[in-house]
């Protein structure tokens, strides 16, 4: 119990962010037309690619002689970048199709 209270005290800003973002996420999606489900999912897919920032931080804090960690970290940065770049580009292509109609 004390651990939990301590955890909350130390991380209270983070916990605030979590709670607020949950509501923001729900609000933002609100009334989306079915037509846009796929681009929206794809766009959200690109945004969670922000995990690549974690992979970068991991690399920056790894000792240069820890080859296993460096190897895995490099793969993580690569995969995360793939998620970000691929995600945004494919979403852009989908939306390009919608725009052409005019």
């Amino acid at each position: 119990m004390n651990d939990l209270i301590e955890f909350f005290t130390i991380n209270k800003e983070m916990i605030f962010i979590v709670i607020l973002m949950i509501f923001v996420g729900v609000e933002v999606i609100g009334k989306v037309p079915a037509v846009l489900h796929t681009p929206l999912m794809s766009g959200a897919n690109a945004i969670h690619g922000v995990v690549v920032v974690g992979a970068i931080l991991l690399m920056l804090n790894t000792q240069p002689d820890n080859y296993l960690a460096l190897g895995l970290g490099t793969v993580a940065v690569f995969l995360g970048t793939l998620n970000v770049v691929g995600g945004f580009v494919v979403t852009d292509r989908m939306l390009e199709m919608f725009k052409k109609k005019k």
Binding site: H37, A44, T81
Partner: protein, 461 residues
């Protein structure tokens, strides 16, 4: 001072994610919203590298830049080259990459935090969710791709999966509790999570894949958020939670559009256990029609509605269908498209495909708007769609798709169904529509027969 700027940029990035997502839910602003979020992402990545404190060896920088460069090139080229029909599986693939990234972070960071039970909990949670999202997305990708054809179910798979899930949770909790630093336990947990991802998606039918991808999408968001918690990095936290929350809601919205509760998607057997029913399904004679007869029929119609389905997408017939529309409009025939919410493989997929071939946005009608119009329609042309026009969804309570809203094509004066063969659709069930009196079948590859149809129409002039 350095750190302040870093936090300001992270804050701005978070705002671009929120605004970007908001703009993505409106057709007019969607494209800019996507670009805005992309800019925020680039800013966050650069900030993470530039504002690092302490000395970092050039080897590390080199590896980071090489990985980013390679990821950018591969991601860019894949996304640019993919055919629009293959898009849903690509989204799944990219989602899996993000999950794998989160899993790897957990795998490496575990050693650095042994003894700190809170951090270890966060690391293990991120790793497990990331791994499940990774293998789950890969299976979803393979299913949409046709590499895995059917839903594979082990006996009692629901119980089995639930036990594994509880097992994962207990095992991870035990690792936190004992404060073990053992690599063996870490790898066992990692492998079990990967295995669970496979078992989780394997039994789910292909028709439900969009919902699954959306769900896994929010999983990856959650995994990213755990990473943010670990590093005390706000932009990862906001981005991750935002996607986790929005993704969950989107999943539920999709379920609603398909009239399938999420519980049924995950635990229900779609298209299974009803094989007996489908074998005893509707039988009878089908009427066939050729392109030349159909051309005449269409030429003298007043109102035609086209119902596009995944078959159209597979055959790449979206451009021919536009050609058909143009010709018919020139002859004074009113043409519109009826888009079922789950036409194609994903909600909105069909709209994207038709927009690609310059079909006007206004001609794409959503199900609720067009259903009353079928009664005044001379000819309905169903191209490569099946389950979304199956009357069994309304009339047969034993049907696995019972309750799913469908397009009421049976109300039209005539109904032409283009299919390659009489094989059942994605849900694996027979369609009695094909045996109705008003229905005529136009067999063949959509692109090929529609081209013939267009040629016949031109010849009629």
């Amino acid at each position: 001072m350095h750190l302040d700027i870093q936090h300001i940029i992270y804050l701005l990035s978070s705002v671009t994610f929120i605004l970007g997502l908001k703009m993505l839910s409106n057709a007019k602003t969607a494209k800019n919203g996507n670009s805005l979020a992309a800019v925020g992402m680039i800013a966050a990545m650069i900030t993470a590298i530039v504002f690092q404190e302490g000395a970092v060896s050039s080897l590390v920088y080199g590896l980071i830049f090489a990985a980013i460069a390679l990821g950018t090139v591969v991601g860019w080229l894949t996304a640019k080259r993919v055919q629009m029909t293959k898009m849903p599986e690509l989204v799944s693939l990219f989602n899996g990459m993000g999950g794998a990234c989160a899993a790897l972070i957990g795998l490496v960071e575990f050693h650095h935090y042994v003894g700190d039970s809170m951090s270890i909990s966060v690391i293990l949670a991120g790793m497990v969710i990331g791994s499940v999202s990774f293998t789950g997305s890969m299976i979803a990708w393979a299913k949409l791709n046709g590499k895995i054809k059917n839903a594979i179910r082990f006996p009692k798979y629901n119980i089995l999966n639930t036990i594994i899930l509880i097992g994962l949770f207990v095992y991870a909790a035990w690792m936190v509790w004992t404060g073990t630093g053992s690599e063996m336990h870490l790898y066992v947990l990692f492998a079990a999570a990967l295995g669970y991802g496979i078992l989780f998606v394997l039994p789910i039918g292909g028709a439900d894949m969009p919902v699954v991808i959306s769900l896994l999408n929010s999983f990856t968001g959650l995994a990213a958020a755990f990473g943010g918690f670990l590093y005390g990095n706000q932009v990862m936290l906001t981005g991750g939670i935002l996607v986790g929350s929005a993704g969950t809601l989107l999943t539920l919205v999709m379920c609603k559009a398909m009239n399938r509760p999420l519980f049924n998607v995950i635990f229900g057997a779609f298209g299974a256990g009803t094989t007996a029913a489908s074998e005893a399904g509707p039988q009878g004679n089908v009427k066939e029609v050729g392109p030349s007869d159909l051309a005449v029929q269409l030429n003298y119609s007043k109102k035609v509605i086209i119902v596009p389905g995944y078959g159209l997408a597979v055959a790449q017939a979206q451009h021919v269908i536009k050609e058909l529309e143009t010709i018919l409009e020139e002859r004074g025939v009113e043409v519109s498209y009826a888009i079922h919410p789950v036409a194609g493989r994903m909600p909105g997929h069909m709209n994207v495909l038709l927009a690609e071939s310059n079909v006007e946005y206004d001609k794409l009608k959503e199900m609720d708007d067009i259903n009353p119009e079928f009664a005044q329609t001379d000819v309905v042309l169903v191209v490569g769609a099946n389950d979304v026009v199956n009357p069994a969804a309304k009339t047969d309570p034993s049907s696995p798709i019972y309750g799913m809203p469908i397009l009421d094509v049976e109300n039209a004066k005539a109904c032409i169904v283009n299919k390659r063969s009489m094989k059942p659709g994605y849900a694996g069930i027979e369609n009695e529509l094909f045996f109705r009196d008003k229905t005529q079948m136009l067999f063949g590859d959509a692109k090929k027969v529609l081209s013939e149809l267009v040629a016949e129409l031109k010849a009629l002039d």
